[in-house]
Symmetry: C2
Subunit: 198 residues, 2 copies
DNA sequence: AGGTCATACCGGACCACGGTCCGCTTGTGC
DNA sequence: GCACAAGCGGACCGTGGTCCGGTATGACCT
């Protein structure tokens, strides 16, 4: 027997709207992969999805949000791992270890989805720092920081630990500077170790 | 008796070009201050300077670079202080102290010119990390890091120390999060201390 | 001085893109 | 069926950035 996940407060979304959302996401995913994120205009996505441009913007608001929406599935998996997954990413390990595992997971994610993540940071006029995925990451890190260093300024430390995981920074380190993924993980591990020592 | 500063290798810049550059910079400075950076289009700057839009773009390349050019004088002062100014910002103090002084100077600069610095970061598609002011800051920090921690991965540590001084990060901490300038300086001081300990 | 020439420079028409708007259409609950 | 809001789509706007035909400038020569 199926129970509704939540008794929807709003009148339920129309069927064609749902279908269109999916078609737009599929189109975006396909075009991003085919010709690169930077070479894919919103018009092209609308055309590929067989939908008017207005529809794209109504469903997703702007380009940055559409990019994030394309990664939503992957983001959900990550969040699930943070909350209920096995240690050290999930609960059960000491905070410093969890932070290191979080950094490694984020770096893997950046390696895999760099183009799209970068796009969402660059086109959001800085608002990605207030996007919902970022907020979740922030809460997670802040909680671990507060556990590891109850004395310190948790807000500031959280920023310090999240900044090197931004897509723009990653792209620069990885591709302009030529650092390897392992170097970045090692560096981040050191950083966490130093910042969480009493 | 006047000596030419440098025996210009290129044929010297035309007088009208020089005059136009200055008029554009003045116009941009004025409009940025009057109506805010975000509300000032390149067309408006060209009009205010009494110049065609093409001229603006030829002289400055793009919006991000124009923003940086507006701050050039201030940047020059800062760089001069780093190289020849009094300790601890200039030479003579231990590296850790110089790094802290550098952070404080950068934070003051952000407090004063936030709008313009933010604009140059946001509209450069991430290329501000390869701008000449950033390159100078990077070399400076990297040198100090290498002195303080000859054993460590200087490249990575340099990124870590520069990331919290970006305009986007600063804007978020200062205005969304409501941290005070002193909190940020204190936080940065702690960061440097922890990262430079042997 | 005055004239001539190559060319750096100018300016505004032009383009593509992100994003908005609003009149028409279509699905849905009654 | 009916009414009505949710949804649609494409014309439209302002913007950053490019391009190229025409022009003014400064070097050189006489």
């Amino acid at each position: 027997m199926e129970l509704p996940v939540l008794p929807a407060a709003q009148p339920r979304e129309r069927a064609d709207a749902v279908a269109n959302r999916q078609r737009i996401l599929d189109a975006a995913t396909r075009l991003f992969a085919e010709r690169g994120v930077g070479c894919t205009s919103m018009d092209a996505i609308a055309a590929e999805a067989g939908v008017g441009k207005g529809t794209v913007f109504r469903r997703f608001g702007d380009r940055a949000s559409l990019a994030l929406a394309v990664l939503d599935a992957s983001e959900t998996v990550l969040q699930e791992s943070l909350i209920r997954g096995p240690a050290p990413l999930g609960p059960g390990a000491p905070p410093a270890e969890r932070l290191i595992a979080f950094g490694a997971a984020m770096l893997d994610r950046l390696e895999e989805h760099l183009e799209i993540l970068r796009e969402s940071e660059l086109t959001s006029h800085g608002a990605y720092l207030r996007s919902s995925p970022y907020a979740v990451h922030r809460i997670h890190v802040r909680m671990l920081v507060a556990q590891a260093r109850p004395d310190a300024d948790a807000d500031y430390l959280t920023d310090i630990l999240l900044a090197p995981l931004s897509a723009v920074t990653f792209a620069e380190q990885r591709h302009t500077r030529g650092l390897s993924l392992d170097q970045l993980k090692a560096g981040y591990g050191d950083l966490v170790a130093r910042l969480t020592r009493a």
